[in-house]
Every structure is written in structure tokens, then in C-alpha cells.
């Protein structure tokens, strides 16, 4: 399998077959990760640097484990505490790292487009671990893998994405990916958090959650991104929970076998009922985390194959 991309910057540039290829390879890594010896050496000799300009625990850990299980030398850089504070520009930081000859660069940045910019300036493969409100491709891929395993297919499903769509890169990447795979997508939330322009992507928009959840196969909840909000988007958390928090009553509108997803970290009692999140019959939230490692292994594996070809 040849992956015709040098970087993984977003879902926007991927084709259906690219997406399927990543997911198929990720399945193999799911199996590997469930064995007692979870190690391969496909990235052995390669250097992976995780550059996080924004706080992250889960995504960074997931990329780190993925790299280590594939035998890469992994280094984490907490960029918030580093040279950025001393006034160095993003490009200078990138050039400096580039001079250390990394092979895989995993980048998260608070500004949309920053990872694209950085990718233009380095020689290695760049993976976008989230840029501003733009894209978070590995999250969408891991969500896709979770859905495919739970539902047996990744097309012709009714999928609801609920909550803070406006501030969410996860929502954008998912919207693009699930659209490319030919699903029906509904966006549910207050109009302050689900701007009407999203309708232009072919999504249906609902501001009534009970109506929006009717007969859906997948309920994808989003975290309320309080840190990205610079003004009142909702009147209060309790009113938000009442109208848009996922609980048993609202979920009853969905298909009986509908699954519940959340990219984490969850605000229990704000966007999702705690008991529901822990319900192993409905919630696949833990499975999403597991798929995250496998999908990131697959993505890095595919990008690294191109590196060795180029060398």
C-alpha cells in the first residue's frame, strides 16, 4: 500500500481509499496492541518529535505510545514552556528542530493553519495533532474506526454531532470524513455554537436535541470548549445541560442500538450524563481511546514508508 501524501495535515486532502487504507492498517495494530508483547520495529531508527504548543495529555500520550510501540525514538517537547516564550517565531522553532533531522513531527498549535505553515518549512513528515479550530485528523480517523467496528460499516449511517461545533476542530474533521464516506450528518446545538454556515457542508442543523437525535445510529458528543470562548455563547452550564446535555431521556430518541461517543476530556454533567458515559452497553468512549493509539500507529507507519522510499 502506498499512501500518496507526505504529511497528514487534515482530512480535507484525503480520498475515500486513503481513509480506508489507514483504517485497515489500524485494525492490524488493534490486534497487536491487545497481545502481551506489543512491539514492532517498523519505525526503528526513526525519530519522532511531539511538539505541543497547546496543553494536551491524552493526544500526546497516545502519539507517544504509538511511536514507542513501533520502535521510534520519541521525544516530547512542551512548547508552551519553551522558546516561544522567548519570542522565537514558529518558523524559527521549526527550522531549529528540522536541523536535528527528525523523521516524524507531531504538532498541535492553538492557531488554525499553523501546522500547514510549519509543514512547508521542514523536511520530515508532519502529523497534525490539532490546529486551532481547523482540523484534528487522527481524532476523526479514530472515531471512524470506532464507528466501523461498532456498526460494521462506515457508510449510510445517521450520525449526530452535538454541542460546541463552532469551536471544535474535531467536529470539522469528522464532518469532512463522515461526509466523504457518504453518511448523513446532523449537527445539534444552540445556534451560537452551531453556525448556519455548516449547512453548506451538507449537514442538517437542529437546535432541538430531541428532534435531532431521532433515529440516529451514532451520537457524537463534543466538549464545551470554555477556553476558546471569548464571550457568552450559552447562558449557563445548567441550562446548557438541560437543553443539550446527553442523558437517558434524550438518547431514547436515537435508535436502540445507537452508540455514544465523546472525544474527551468529558465535562460530566455539562454535556453528558456521567452514568451514561460509563454505560458499557452504549458508550464506546474507552474504545475510542484504544483506537486512537492504533490509528496513530497506522498513520505514522504509512507516512514513514514514504520516507524510506524517498531516502
Amino acid at each position: 500500500m502506498r499512501f500518496a501524501h507526505r504529511h497528514l495535515l487534515g482530512i480535507e486532502h484525503l480520498s475515500q481509499s486513503d481513509i480506508t487504507a489507514i483504517l485497515d492498517l489500524a485494525e492490524k495494530y488493534v490486534d497487536m496492541n491487545r497481545q502481551s508483547t506489543k512491539h514492532s520495529d517498523v519505525l526503528s531508527g526513526l525519530t519522532q518529535i511531539n511538539m505541543f504548543f497547546e496543553n494536551s495529555t491524552r493526544t500526546q500520550a497516545s502519539f507517544e505510545i504509538a511511536g514507542k510501540r513501533l520502535g521510534a525514538d520519541v521525544m516530547n517537547m512542551a512548547m508552551q514552556a519553551s522558546s516561544i516564550k522567548k519570542g522565537e517565531t514558529l518558523i524559527d522553532t521549526a527550522m531549529t528542530l528540522n536541523a536535528m533531522h527528525p523523521d516524524l513531527l507531531v504538532v498541535r498549535h492553538p492557531h488554525s493553519g499553523a501546522v500547514d505553515l510549519l509543514a512547508q518549512k521542514v523536511n520530515c513528515a508532519v502529523l497534525n495533532a490539532g490546529d486551532g479550530k481547523h482540523e484534528h485528523p487522527t481524532q476523526a480517523l479514530l472515531d471512524a474506526l470506532t464507528i466501523r467496528r461498532a456498526k460494521g460499516r462506515l457508510h449510510r449511517l445517521n450520525i449526530a454531532i452535538c454541542g460546541d461545533v463552532a469551536h471544535s476542530r474535531v467536529a470539522r474533521s469528522n464532518l469532512i470524513l463522515l461526509g466523504k464516506m457518504e453518511n448523513r450528518i446532523r449537527l445539534i446545538g444552540p445556534p451560537t455554537l452551531v453556525p448556519g454556515q455548516f449547512a453548506e457542508f451538507g449537514a442538517e442543523i437542529y437546535d432541538d436535541m430531541n428532534e435531532g437525535l431521532k433515529d440516529v445510529d451514532v451520537v457524537m458528543m463534543l466538549r464545551l470548549q470554555k477556553e476558546r470562548m471569548d464571550g457568552g455563547f450559552i447562558p449557563s452550564e445548567r441550562e446548557y445541560y438541560h437543553r443539550y446535555g446527553l442523558d437517558g431521556a434524550k438518547l431514547a430518541q436515537a435508535k436502540p442500538d445507537a452508540i455514544v461517543m465523546h472525544p474527551g476530556p468529558m465535562n460530566r454533567g455539562v454535556e453528558i450524563d456521567g452514568t451514561l458515559a460509563d454505560d458499557i452497553n452504549r458508550s464506546v468512549i474507552q474504545e475510542q481511546v484504544e483506537m486512537g493509539v492504533a490509528v496513530r500507529m497506522a498513520a505514522m507507519d504509512l507516512l514513514a514508508r514514504n520516507l524510506s522510499e524517498a531516502a
Partner: protein, 426 residues
């Protein structure tokens, strides 16, 4: 000196709205006679234009020259060379320098620098409020005496309506023109794109095009109150146009401009976060662009300017949200405007009405026209010669042009200021 007869010229006359092959005679820096057909015999030096276009030089309202403060981005010398090469014979400079031009003393500095280094006419504008902070009006009377032709806080909106209404009232008494940036300042705060599908896809902070209408509506209400002379620097959205039309119909002393970038580019040109396309206000939808062109055609939008804003590489090589706004355009204004001509949307007299005649009229200048007694500020250009723009060929110290690598058509052959040749294409 200097009697010149231009012969065999395609004369672009924005006053009459006509173009015709003819001749034009210049004496002592002024146009003394012109006509169709062959020139009458005279002892003057003759320049055979070879059928190329001869038009009144461009009067560009809103040029940023980065003196004082950031001379590495653009000096009076480099801006003057760029203007001459672009057929711009009068630059009307912005006061958004560091520090702002808000005292007669700083204005005199600008005038002195401009005279020493610049081959084209330079008319400075001054800030409307001190430091462009929107709190206290500047010494409008003194600044006028020192040569300020208009008063503007540039892209800073005077958010305090009381301050703005007083400044407008005072300016009216001085007979001063106020140029404002119509925008609802809080709604547009932090925006890097126009809200719509593109901004959503790119995840950029966006402002509704309605913010421009809201800003213009407020300003129009203040004009009704104060009777001041007002020019909107850039009207870039379709929704603002009916309000502008009504205000004009009601007899308010209002005119409006737009930038060449908003007439020739749209939001999709930003593509993968290309920061050279980041301007303020942000590029709009294609519908807005088309509405802008139509408004220039009908004369509802009076002026087209370059909104020349030099930025160095460091200010632009940043993530889109953090990157500086603005583009250089003195040298690309004419070729970009000619895109509208080649597309069959605007004829040459209409373009020069918006680029030369109307800006001159608004500032009370006698230039911007081909008529007896007007200054011989002229641009000779070939509208058809094709080229690919290389940004490093620009004479500006900064090369942040969105047209880099693009195919364009139309080049300046020579530029004359008061009858003197200040540029000739090598």
C-alpha cells in the same frame, strides 16, 4: 522648459467618459490643449505614444508609507519609486505610522521627508484623534494649516460615538474631510476572515459582512446630525451598498472608496492560509466582489485605491490569525484594475474616474483629469502587454503582494508629474 506634445495617444478622459485617439499638449507643467486626430504643428518636443493609452495619473487615497517608525518596510523614497512605476502621480498618505501623525510637528516631518525623496506628489493625511486612540480629537485646524488634506484614524474605528460626533462637528467647521473605516468594532474584533463556508472550513475567526453595514449606518446617522464631509475608506460588501445609496440620495456629503484587492480577489484566494491575502477588512465572497464592481460602474462607489500597506516577511510568516494585515499595491493597482477592463466589466474611462478624477475631486484637487489648465500628471500605458508578476521585481521595500506569480496584462510605459517624466519602463 518643457513644452511637450503627446501625439498618437489613446486619450482616456474620465470627465467626458470617452476615449479617442488624439494629442495632448503640455506647457510649464500643465495641460494646455488637447484634441482628436493629428496634433497641430508646434515647436514643442513630441512624444509619439504609438496608440498607447494616455490617462490622468492615479490619485491614490490611503497609501501607507512607513516613515516615521518602520522605514525598513517602506520609505518615502521607495514608495515614490513604486508609485511612479505604477502610474500613481499623487499619493495621499495614511497617518497610521509609529507614532501616528497627529501633531503639526510630525506632519511637517512627513512633508519634509516626502519633498526630499519623492518624485510624485505627496499629500499627507492626519489622524482624527490623538494617537488614533479614539479619545480626543487632534488639532484639526493646525494640521490643516500644516497641509493635512483629510483626517482619518485609518483602520481604527472611533468606537466612542460621542467623540466621533464631536470630531465630525468640529471638522465640518474647518471644512475638513473625515475618512473613516466603517465597521462595527466589537463584532469585527479579532476577525481574520469573512464568515461563511470558507472561514468555517479553515477554522478562522470570522466577522459577518453585516458589521460593515452596521458601521456605515452609524456613521451615516452621525452625518445627518453633523453635516460633515465624509469618505468611507473601503466599502466591500453588497449589504452596505443600499445604505450608501440612500445616504447619497438624501444629499449627505458622503463618498465611498474600495480597495483594488476587494475588487479583484475573493475569500477563496486565501486558500491554504496564504497570509499575503490577509487584508483588512478581510476578503469577501464572490457575490460581494461582483456587487463592488457594479457599484464602481454606476458610480455609487466613488474611488478605487491601492490601500498600499507594506509588511515585512516576518510580519507575514506567521499563522494566519497572527499575521499582519495588508498588501503592497502601488505598482499592481493599474494592472489589477485592468483585469476588470479585460474581463469586460469596466471600461477605461470608468476605471480612471474611480482612480484619478473622483479622488482628486474629493480632495479639491485640479488633477485627475485631461483638461486645459489641469496639472500634467499623466500615465502612459499599454493595456495589453502580458506579464507574470515577480514580487521581487517590485520597487517597494516590502514585497507582500497577493499577485505574486500571477498572470497580468497591462504595464505602465511612462509616468509624468507636472510634465516631468518620473518613470519610463526600461
Amino acid at each position: 522648459m518643457s513644452n511637450i506634445t503627446f501625439t498618437n495617444a489613446r486619450l482616456i478622459d474620465p470627465e467626458q467618459g470617452t476615449e479617442s485617439i488624439g494629442w495632448l499638449q503640455v506647457s510649464d507643467g500643465r495641460i494646455v490643449d488637447l484634441g482628436a486626430g493629428d496634433a497641430p504643428a508646434s515647436g514643442a518636443e513630441a512624444i509619439d505614444c504609438g496608440g498607447q493609452c494616455l490617462a490622468p495619473g492615479i490619485v491614490d487615497i490611503g497609501v501607507k508609507v512607513c516613515e516615521p517608525g518602520e522605514r525598513h518596510k517602506e520609505s518615502y523614497k521607495s514608495a515614490g519609486l513604486a508609485a511612479a512605476a505604477g502610474g500613481v502621480t499623487t499619493i495621499v498618505t495614511r497617518p497610521d505610522t509609529t507614532p501616528a501623525i497627529d501633531t503639526p510637528e510630525s506632519l511637517e516631518f512627513v512633508t519634509r521627508r516626502a519633498q526630499a525623496d519623492t518624485p510624485v506628489n505627496v499629500l499627507p493625511m492626519a489622524a482624527l484623534t490623538k494617537g488614533r486612540e479614539g479619545r480626543e480629537m487632534t488639532e484639526i485646524g493646525f494640521l490643516q494649516d500644516a497641509g493635512a488634506v483629510a483626517f482619518t484614524d485609518c483602520d481604527h474605528v472611533v468606537a466612542n460615538t460621542k467623540v466621533f460626533s464631536r470630531a465630525l462637528t468640529y471638522a465640518r467647521a474647518c471644512g475638513a474631510l473625515v475618512i473613516a473605516h466603517p465597521q462595527e468594532p466589537i463584532l469585527s474584533n479579532g476577525a481574520a476572515a469573512t464568515s461563511g463556508k470558507f472561514a468555517v472550513l479553515r477554522g478562522l475567526p470570522a466577522v459577518s459582512p453585516m458589521a460593515e453595514r452596521m458601521g456605515l449606518d452609524r456613521d451615516i446617522a452621525l452625518l445627518e446630525m453633523t453635516g460633515a464631509a465624509y469618505h468611507a475608506d473601503q466599502i466591500t460588501t453588497a449589504r452596505a451598498l443600499p445604505a450608501l445609496e440612500r445616504a447619497k440620495r438624501n444629499g449627505l456629503d458622503i463618498t465611498a472608496g474600495t480597495s483594488i484587492h476587494h475588487l479583484t480577489l475573493n475569500e477563496l484566494d486565501v486558500a491554504d492560509y496564504r497570509t499575503f491575502f490577509k487584508v483588512k477588512p478581510p476578503l469577501r465572497s464572490e457575490d460581494d466582489r461582483q456587487a463592488g464592481i457594479e457599484a464602481v460602474r454606476t458610480g455609487l462607489i466613488d474611488t478605487i485605491s491601492s490601500m498600499h500597506t507594506p509588511q515585512d516577511e516576518e510580519s507575514k510568516r506567521l499563522p494566519f490569525e497572527e499575521a499582519a494585515s495588508g498588501a503592497v499595491a502601488l505598482e499592481t493597482l493599474l494592472p489589477a484594475a485592468l483585469r476588470l477592463y479585460h474581463a469586460g466589466q469596466l471600461d477605461l474611462p470608468t476605471l480612471f474616474r474611480a482612480m484619478s478624477l473622483n479622488p482628486a475631486n474629493r480632495l479639491g484637487l485640479n488633477s485627475g483629469r485631461l483638461s486645459e489648465g489641469a496639472p500634467a500628471d499623466l500615465v502612459l500605458f499599454d493595456p495589453d502587454v502580458p506579464f507574470v508578476l515577480d514580487r521581487f521585481s517590485l520597487k517597494s521595500k516590502s514585497q507582500n503582494t497577493p499577485f505574486d506569480g500571477q498572470r497580468m496584462q497591462g504595464k505602465v510605459t511612462a509616468t509624468f508629474v507636472a510634465g516631468q517624466e518620473v518613470y519610463r519602463r526600461p
